[in-house]
């Protein structure tokens, strides 16, 4: 098996002098600072020769004291080996600019756009650096830089100035005050770029084409994001996606909260997956601290994360059934009832229904209550019988088949290239699961298999989710059998100030690969938290997937991805 040190020596021999600094954290983590001129070549070499075919994301870091900025590329492999390479390239803080990887990896596009709008790092050779998450009025202030002073107060209605637009509408404009201009809360010079509307209208080629808006508020969408489709008759020619309607800036907020307070924000990135978000954040910090989690706490975490996965898949599938209206409205109602029993179980341990704030650095908050095991087993038995019923129901329903089969087909190669993860990737037959690839907690000791599909269409994505519920039930039953007695928190006292260091920690979210890149500078607050969420990649995949389908299928495809914009707009 390839290890991190193998990768490092391979890169060093292929590019002598390109690796400026390197650190092999473990067999599965490689940290390296690459000369910014050769970052593209190194990444190309990694992907072509060393099986790094999964571009997992990128993070920007503003090192204000060192007067430089850093772009960290996260590279992994789809099953060939388990090494995650964190490749940093540095650039001076004045006019920061690095080379773009967007021509090498298709999915680098959005990650680089995000870094550009948040940090102002230019990406040379990027096909279109347009804002993605920020509103137009904030582009140019680079809000995630460390010297950003805060947003201007745009809530004061009295400051609004009425002005007519060229199209004859009236719009309201709030001019910045001199103090705000001086403080740097409004952009001094705005970058020039065509707006989203202009970009999509440019694509209209003939009179028979038109643009239809699905969203930001649409029955299909689990949260607000704008999906505009360019249609001719019933056919979708092109799709455009814009998000950022509920961008919360959680990564920036967490820089201003203490380590423990930051935990509460991970809950709120996506409330149906809050336990795995908790786990991801705490795991990264435990890695920095080198904390050993007691065995009982590890089992409790696994049990709850799997329960959380079950409820997430139930609500995801149920919601989808209401969208396609193929099998009727009933499954939604029944899945919600089923989910209630799981939610009650989680609530009996954590004390909250959705936002649990349960995992702690080096342990968990509460122990399992009396009689949890029996209650859990009976609830799981019920869920198991119900899930089997759902699978049977969907298998034999002809309407469902007509609606879902061979709709939105992703081939394994294409799915790998677009960087999607979770059930949509596994439905194509690629067995890529963080629980096996980057095993954490007690997952290596547990017996379970990665559920995969064969066709990669919408029906398979739902089928994979439902069969994953059965697999999760199997995992929880093993945990309940094996869970030992003992402490639920580590005996070492967790310091208020986390020692300087960095870690990247991945968990399998219900929706796919969730990773957190946490940097500490030795203070009581994180220096930077980067969340690599699964939904960001899923949403990025939607526009190319929708090209050439019928309008009605757009719903069947977008819904089957189980995308949660709240998490992508974290």
């Amino acid at each position: 098996m390839t290890t991190a040190s193998d990768v490092l020596s391979a890169v060093q021999s292929a590019f002598p002098g390109a690796v400026l600094e390197s650190r092999v954290e473990s067999d599965r983590r490689l940290w390296a600072t690459i000369d910014s001129n050769s970052i593209v070549d190194v990444c190309k070499h990694l992907s072509e020769k060393l099986n790094f075919d999964h571009y997992s994301g990128a993070a920007g870091v503003d090192w204000i004291a060192r007067k430089e900025m850093e772009v960290v590329e996260i590279m992994a492999s789809h099953g060939a080996h388990q090494v995650v390479a964190m490749l940093k390239s540095k650039t001076p803080r004045e006019n920061p600019s690095v080379k773009s990887l967007a021509n090498l990896f298709w999915n680098a596009n959005w990650y680089e756009r995000e870094i550009w709008e948040m940090f102002g790092i230019n990406f040379e050779g990027h096909p279109g650096l347009y804002p993605l998450l920020l509103g137009d009025e904030l582009v140019g202030v680079w809000p995630w830089r460390k010297d950003f002073k805060g947003y201007p107060d745009l809530t004061t209605g009295q400051r609004a100035v009425e002005r007519p637009t060229s199209e004859g509408y009236t719009e309201y404009f709030i001019p910045p005050t001199p103090a705000e201009i001086e403080a740097g809360t409004v952009p001094k010079e705005k970058p020039k770029y065509p707006s989203f509307r202009e970009r999509e209208e440019k694509e209209i080629k003939s009179d028979s084409e038109m643009i239809m808006h699905m969203g930001p508020q649409h029955a299909m969408l689990p949260g607000p994001f704008l999906l505009d489709i360019l249609i001719e008759g019933e056919r979708v020619h092109k799709a455009f996606l814009d998000m950022g309607y509920i961008h919360k800036g959680i990564e920036k907020i967490m820089e201003n909260r203490t380590w423990l307070q930051g935990l509460t924000y991970t809950d709120r990135m996506c409330y149906v997956a809050s336990l795995s978000n908790n786990e991801c954040y705490c795991g990264a910090i435990e890695k920095i601290l080198g904390l050993e989690v007691p065995l009982r706490a590890q089992y409790i975490r696994v049990i709850l994360e799997e329960l959380s996965r079950i409820q997430s898949h139930l609500i995801g599938t149920g919601e989808f059934m209401t969208l396609i209206a193929g099998v009727g409205y009933a499954p939604w109602n029944f899945m919600i009832i089923d989910r209630e029993s799981i939610i009650s179980l989680i609530e009996s341990v954590t004390g909250a229904r959705l936002t649990h704030t349960f995992v702690r650095f080096g342990g968990v908050r509460n122990d399992l209550p009396e009689g949890f095991s029996d209650k859990c087993r009976s609830a799981l038995k019920y869920i198991e019988s119900r899930t089997k019923e759902y699978i049977e129901l969907f298998e034999q329903d002809p309407i469902y088949h007509m609606r879902m089969e061979n709709v939105g087909v992703l081939s394994p190669d294409r799915a790998k290239r677009v960087g999607i993860s979770g059930p949509p990737l596994r439905a194509t037959g690629v067995a890529y699961d963080m629980r096996k690839e980057d095993p954490i907690l007690v997952y290596p000791d547990l017996d379970f298999k990665v559920v995969t599909g064969t066709r990669g269409d919408s029906a398979d994505r739902i089928d994979v989710r439902l069969r994953e519920i059965l697999e999760s039930i199997h995992i929880i039953e093993q945990c309940l059998d094996r869970i030992p007695a003992g402490p639920i928190k580590t005996e070492t006292k967790v310091p208020k100030k986390i020692p300087a260091g960095e870690a990247y920690y991945r968990v399998e979210d219900p929706r796919g690969e969730m990773g957190m890149y946490v940097i500490s500078d030795g203070g009581d607050k994180p220096y930077r938290v980067k969340v690599r969420g699964p939904v960001y990649a899923t949403l990025q995949t939607l526009p190319p997937l929708l090209e050439g389908v019928y309008i009605a299928d757009a719903v069947a495809i977008a819904g089957s991805m189980d995308g949660c914009p709240s998490e992508a707009d974290r």
Partner: protein
């Protein structure tokens, strides 16, 4: 064949509906059973709260404010500062409960908090307290605290006098001397600290920590 399958599936909801699963909760009439771990509205034990403001500091939404409250124990909580929680901002994360060193703040099973005005959901220690002293008990405790404080003050004054006579600074002050490098400062400093403590806003716990041992009387 196709029709039969479809008919079978249409019968499916009926089949499940007749199983007697609980579907609707009769909420206001029948309250659902909540687990012991439930994180509902806080419950304060005013008899043991030490007013350290740990809860106020950890709160990510800063919804906890320390306010004065009569029916606590002045022996434990000298400035009688107790948490007041603004439920308009509280997100029930439970960090305050975890941080509480005296384990006097808990989260209970009550979850309803509707009110007519915004002030109704700002709950002071009076509403949060599940255990508190009666007015009589509180008065007794206050008298007791006064007596102890007076005793302490007298002892401290005696000690200081003795120290001044001997010409050697007291044990606690000796450290201060080492820090500041001035010889005549320690008694003055202690007096100044006392004066400060009286005026100091009790919401700031740091001052309480930094207080010299002999100057606690107020």
């Amino acid at each position: 064949m196709l029709k039969r399958k479809m008919l079978k599936n249409w019968g499916w909801p009926l089949r499940i509906a007749s199983r007697g699963t609980e579907v609707t909760r009769l909420y206001p009439e029948v309250m659902m059973e909540l687990p012991a771990a439930e994180r509902g509205i806080h419950e304060l034990d005013a008899t043991t709260c030490i007013g350290c403001a740990s809860c106020a500091r950890i709160c990510p939404n800063s919804c906890i404010e320390m306010v004065t409250y009569k029916y606590g124990s002045p022996l434990k909580n000298k400035k009688m500062q107790y948490p007041q929680i603004d439920y308009g901002r509280c997100m029930f994360c439970g960090l305050c409960v975890d941080e509480c060193p005296a384990e006097c703040l808990k989260m209970g099973k009550k979850v309803t908090m509707a009110g007519w005005e915004r002030e109704d959901i700002v709950r002071g220690p009076d509403k949060l307290a599940v255990k508190k002293f009666t007015a009589k008990e509180a008065a007794e405790l206050a008298a007791e605290a006064k007596r102890i404080a007076a005793e302490k003050a007298a002892a401290a004054a005696a000690k200081k006098k003795a120290a001044a006579k001997e010409g050697a600074p007291a044990e606690g002050a000796a450290k201060k001397v080492a820090k500041e490098g001035a010889e005549n400062k320690p008694p003055k400093k202690a007096v100044a600290k006392e004066g400060e403590n009286k005026e100091a806003n009790a919401q700031e716990p740091k001052k309480e920590d930094a207080k010299p041992t002999e100057g606690g009387a107020s």
